[in-house]
């Protein structure tokens, strides 16, 4: 049953991801992206990461993509179906960037496949124990606010800087 669901979500995720790239209409691309995010959230649920799944949908599918939609509609990109894909050197650069990121991902995944935690499945046991003891939210919240509190706060400051920067850039007379 779980395998069946996994293949269903995985098919939707990959199919929609291809849809994001090939859709002619920007709003279509965006809806495919939402479908991808939702399908990945489904895979998270299959992995017992309920909290991640909820946050994925609330933050990415429900808030950030709505802002994307807002911008696309305001720029009225959806009604003229011209090719706005830049060719030549741009496509080479885009290919190199995505290729590089994909390479990094494969390298990292290859590494974790060799790690003892992955081979013995002890990482999964630790997660199961944390879920049983602290619940779906506590299992994430405890390490986040104890062991990783400094990186967590730093990320918060990073986001704040981004917001301040965007406000400064958007304002005409500062």
């Amino acid at each position: 049953m779980a395998d069946l669901l996994f293949f269903m979500f995985a098919t939707v995720a990959i199919g929609s991801a291809i849809g994001v790239v090939v859709a002619r209409n920007p709003v279509g691309s965006l809806m495919f992206m939402v479908a991808t995010l939702a399908a990945v959230a489904g895979i998270f649920v299959l992995l017992e990461a309920h909290f991640l799944a909820a946050i994925q949908v609330i933050v990415y599918a429900g808030a950030i993509m709505v802002l994307f939609l807002f911008v696309i509609m305001l720029l009225n990109l959806g009604h003229d179906y011209q090719r706005d894909v830049k060719g030549g050197v741009w496509s080479v650069m885009a290919f190199a960037t995505t290729g590089g990121l994909a390479g990094l991902l494969v390298r990292q995944l290859g590494r974790s496949a060799d790690s003892p935690a992955f081979l013995t499945g002890s990482g999964g046991d630790a997660i199961d124990a944390a879920l049983a003891e602290y619940g779906a939210v506590g299992a994430i919240a405890r390490p986040l606010f104890t062991d990783y509190v400094v990186p967590f706060e730093l990320v918060g400051i990073l986001l704040l800087v981004a917001i301040v920067g965007a406000t400064v850039l958007a304002k005409k007379n500062v």
Partner: protein, 421 residues
């Protein structure tokens, strides 16, 4: 008493899904009738009373009419998204009710059945996730119609719903802190343990949640996306027949879910006030109704009449909020768009953040002093919250109602200027 398991659990889940789904649809249908009858009552009219006794068959007549009407599709609309809009509006609205517990567990010969469709470990976050997806229906519907009024409605909807989601989520944090959990079954249990509904120790969170819920369901005074007097009917201007009806079903089931949620989070859910015989919770695999003086769990004895009673109490509380929604709609005028945004970002957001700080500090102090989680704990928090709520109301009121128009006129003699900058 063992929880139900195996094939019986699968069957009971299917039955619960069918019953809850048809229950939601039925309540939605009759809320539309209630809306029309209550509005008629408030405006000193009679309202629809021709179809069946007291007009009780009116929703069925409306449903048949909407099914049989001709579907129109604007020539310039983008077809796929025009059809996708109502679907995306309706589906999230229908599935959110699944995590709300609506009665005490029901004993059956095969085991005890929880009166909740899906008790997921993330509880209310599931509702937040799906209701945040509900905005796509409104936005896509308005955009795909290729009509400027529909499009303006869609733009307003996206901005408004994203803004108030923030305040809604933040107002819930105080509830999470007090309950120590995000699942709704445990929140009901914690309110039973506290002997106090969360509406009292967390009164400001309750107020903020109610305001945000009105904005999230696009109900007056926050019906910017529709705003008949400005945008024809906003995002569903171009829709007719069943597609139009689906937007309406979505709006009313959002209203129902929001009402049930407010009843569960702040008014104790299916808990019967001033009684402990109905309390029930799965504690380490055993259904208990509380703890003895020495911390020993006391076993609960579920019964069908307890389930029925608690279901009735839950329906009463939810019904109260549904009538409240309707009442407010026919009492308050609509906000201006900039006022909605100002209230959302400049008032609700800072207030909810400050309230989280105050409540977290109060709970920390109470824990440090050593007050046990119980009635006294709740009373202390009630006092703190009451002060916060009064300050908030006085700030928002800005001397308008509290002092009255006469005092204002006297203060700003000769004539008060409107609008300001």
């Amino acid at each position: 008493m063992e929880p139900i398991s195996g094939l019986a659990a699968l069957l009971s889940s299917s039955v619960k899904i069918a019953l809850v789904f048809s229950g939601v649809m039925l309540v939605v249908a009759y809320t539309t009738l209630a809306e029309r009858r209550v509005s008629a009552f408030i405006q000193d009219r009679i309202g629809p009373n021709r179809v069946g006794p007291f007009g009780l068959l009116q929703p069925i007549a409306d449903g048949i009419k909407n099914l049989l009407k001709e579907e129109t599709s604007p020539a310039a609309a983008s077809r796929t998204f025009f059809i996708l809009g109502p679907i995306l509006a309706m589906v999230p609205a229908m599935v959110t009710f699944a995590v709300i517990p609506f009665a005490a567990p029901l004993p059956t010969p095969w085991g005890v059945v929880d009166m909740i469709v899906a008790d997921v470990p993330i509880g209310i976050l599931y509702i937040l996730a799906f209701s945040s997806l509900g905005v796509y229906g409104v936005v896509l519907g308005g955009w795909a119609s290729n009509n400027k009024y529909a499009f303006l409605g869609a733009l307003r909807a996206s901005a408004q719903m994203v803004s108030y989601e923030v305040a809604l989520g933040l107002s819930l944090i105080a509830v999470f802190m007090l309950a120590g959990s995000v699942t709704l079954t445990e929140m009901v249990w914690q309110q039973q343990q506290l002997d106090l509904w969360f509406a009292f120790p967390l009164s400001l969170a309750f107020l903020l949640f109610v305001i945000s819920a009105f904005a999230e369901t696009n109900r007056l005074p926050f019906d910017m996306p529709e705003a008949e007097s400005e945008l024809v009917t906003g995002y569903h201007t171009e829709y007719s027949a069943m597609k139009f009806s689906m937007f309406f079903i979505a709006e009313y089931s959002h209203m129902l879910t929001a009402s049930a949620l407010m009843a569960t989070l702040f008014l104790g859910g299916w808990d019967i006030p001033f009684a402990t015989w109905d309390d029930a919770f799965w504690y380490e695999g055993v259904l208990i109704r509380g703890f003895g003086p020495d911390g020993v769990p006391l076993a609960a004895s579920p019964a069908w009449w307890k389930t029925l009673f608690t279901l009735g109490v839950f329906a009463l509380k939810t019904g109260f909020f549904l009538v409240f929604f309707i009442w407010v709609r026919w009492t308050l005028p609509r906000f201006r768009y900039d006022q909605v945004m100002q209230l959302g970002w400049k008032v609700m957001l800072p207030t909810s953040l400050a309230y989280i700080m105050v409540m977290a500090a109060s709970m920390l102090i109470l824990d440090q002093v050593g007050v046990a989680y119980g009635f006294a704990y709740g009373l202390a928090l009630t006092g703190v919250s009451l002060v916060c709520t009064l300050l908030f109301i006085f700030y928002l009121d800005d001397d308008r109602i509290m002092k009255g128009a006469g005092a204002r006129q006297a203060a700003s003699d000769p004539v008060p200027t409107e609008g300001g900058d």
